[in-house]
Symmetry: C2
Subunit: 413 residues, 2 copies
């Protein structure tokens, strides 16, 4: 195993870059060093350099043009927290330059931008990984581990989603405050599928013996953003995005997945996780797991004197001690970094792949399949819920099961 | 208000009739008396008479042909707990005879059997009510009451379902033990939509200013029944029914409803209720309600020093004292009868309508719209998730909002 620090470039220096850099400051100098940063806006570059200086860190080289950063031989890998409209094209450029590219979460606007990503990953020796931190969430990994050990039996149905009231982040008295606001102003579909879908795709071994076949999507009326926009006096109030977008995905191995997107209504946060098999179920919103033979089933008597059975949830925490994923058994006593430690684990996984030039645990085919949901769900909503087929970005390679574990970060084995 | 006891006939004397009669034994002689019973199987008639005798109740007249019972002038209203394949035709006969018919829950096999029901209800002076006990569940009525008072704002999205492990009831070493087993052996769709969908339809005022427009349905692979059948040595193992059937319904007023059917996998019971509006949400599985301005929203700080907000569930019970539905405020200190008291309330609502010959709170158009989901979901599953449009069983009358409250049992006002 290579032990050099990975030399990182960061392209796009907005708020997400600040969070990523805050997490990276907890990493040792042996793990990585940020040697280059890039943004088209000079004031963002200056702000980031200020953060480096304040933390007494060596200053990185600075670029305005991402292609010049990508040509820098002192950079092994790049993180690309740029806008949703640019990060896939920049990632494609990164792979053309032979770099490892860490792509932020989000969705695609067209299928073709995903094909470009795939073809460049296949042609130039680079690789990309989606930094889907939720794939490294404690409960997601716990359940992955339990599924791999057979505790849930054969998986038949899953749910996931992103339900988070962020209207306040997207609109204020000046109108839409950020690109994501504009995206929700103009588009209607599941624009943010991967926090929920990534972990579920890993559990279902999508692209490793299974694949997404088709998605049908449905949007509720759009009221939440309008209500918030009117409250704060925004000049734009008519958002295209339905408050709740529901999608159902069918998989080649017969599983169904229900996917929900809702970011405009007041409610507690949820990623709506549900993993259900022939022997057990995890339901995030119930904070519970039921496993046949482990969890309690009570016998009760109805008014007519006949017996019936009541299955009882176990709290998820009951399973931590015995079934925490190896990554979390190591990490659980000191989970540092953004989003409860998930950012740390996903970045470490990326650095490990970049350092050793091994296939990343969330690869270009995963990126393409997961992000395709966005473009396809928009099409399906527009067509009244018509099922939209997924392209096979693997050109048939998905039919093979995973063989062997690449590294301890591997989510597929 | 008429105060005569309602003279009831019971057609179909299987286990559900026993539960209904057990609940009716708690009713006073001023409310109702069972004057006639009917079954094609003599041993079921004898068993029921034995129950009457054991409880020292006057013996009802007995019939083998339901048409003869319906011609009996000593019968005001009938309950029809017969098989799914016969209860709608018998209900149509009951209305032709001018009786009030209480229909058990379930779904339709064809749209035409629902049209027959509707046309007979419109033509002969009888009426039917679906005895959907869950419409009178405490939490369902609590939330209905809160929605009517505006606490949830404008409703935009709902979920509901029937998730209940009943494989043990449907199959044993002899194969399918009951009609429901055969239904699940041969059919794939949402065969049991109304426990979840009924209360949601009432909240959304379906057929009273709103209506179901279309449904798309998706079935997971079928493993649960097979696994159970193999375990108990059943000669039939290949069930058509997917373990989890997911449907999405679109409504005329722009709401979406996600509906789930799952009866073959081990898991805790749920009706999957979710009611979400611009100001609040109820989520059954979280045992929680969040209402803007009532429930807590915490301000927290992320690793980069930026603020974010955490909405916190209130337990449902917090709202009982102030917002219990009037029916439950009256009932809550002594909820007797089957299914936690819901059977009592739905039967009282039916008896009240039959006694006063007023429109029942769950009428023939509700029956038709709710039960149509079954036939349409089968079609949609068969067509790969294609959206299937709902007929307008009201012939356009749905566009008018409810005006005034018919009785205290009314769920629409």
């Amino acid at each position: 195993m290579d032990t050099r620090p990975v030399r990182l470039g960061v392209i796009g220096l907005g708020p997400r870059a600040e969070t990523l850099l805050a997490t990276l400051r907890n990493f040792s100098q042996e793990e990585c060093c940020v040697t280059a940063v890039c943004d088209i806006a000079l004031q963002r570059v200056e702000k980031i350099l200020g953060i480096f200086a304040a933390n007494k860190l060596p200053l990185p080289r600075t670029f305005a043009d991402h292609r010049k950063l990508l040509a820098d031989s002192e950079v092994d890998a790049v993180l690309i927290p740029t806008s949703w409209n640019s990060h896939l094209a920049i990632a494609a450029d990164a792979m053309k330059a032979g770099k490892y590219a860490g792509i932020e979460v989000g969705g695609a606007s067209s299928l073709d931008e995903l094909w470009q990503l795939v073809r460049n990953a296949e042609s130039f020796g680079g690789a990309c990984m989606m930094l889907e931190n939720c794939c490294y969430g404690r409960n997601e990994l716990l359940v992955t581990n339990m599924v791999r050990q057979g505790l849930f039996g054969e998986i038949v149905h899953c749910s996931c989603g992103y339900e988070h009231d962020i209207a306040w982040e997207l609109v204020d008295k000046n109108g839409c405050m950020c690109e994501r606001g504009f995206q929700n102003l103009k588009r209607c579909g599941d624009l943010y599928p991967t926090h929920g879908l990534g972990p579920i795709a890993k559990i279902l071994r999508i692209n490793r013996g299974n694949r997404f076949l088709a998605v049908s999507s449905f949007a509720s009326k759009a009221r939440g953003f309008r209500r918030y926009a009117e409250k704060v006096g925004s000049p734009v109030t008519e958002f295209a995005m339905g408050d709740v977008v529901t999608s159902v995905i069918k998989c080649a191995n017969g599983e169904t997945i229900t996917l929900t997107h809702g970011i405009s209504l007041p409610r507690p946060y949820s990623r709506d996780c549900r993993v259900q098999g022939t022997k057990g179920i995890w339901l995030e919103d119930a904070k519970g797991i039921f496993i046949e033979g482990i969890s309690e089933t009570k016998t009760e008597i109805d008014v007519a004197g006949n017996p019936y059975y009541t299955h009882v949830w176990d709290p998820v925490e009951k399973f931590y001690e015995k079934y925490d994923h190896p990554l979390w058994q190591e990490f659980r006593n000191n989970p540092t970094g953004g989003h409860g430690g998930m950012d740390t684990l996903s970045l470490r996984a990326f650095l490990d792949a970049a350092r050793n030039r091994t296939p990343p645990p969330i690869d270009v085919y995963d990126c393409a399949a997961w992000m395709a949901v966005t473009a396809l769900s928009e099409s399906s909503v527009a067509a009244g819920g018509l099922p939209m087929p997924f392209p096979d970005f693997t050109d048939g390679k998905w039919i093979y099961e995973t063989r062997g574990k690449i590294s301890k970060w591997d989510l597929n084995a």
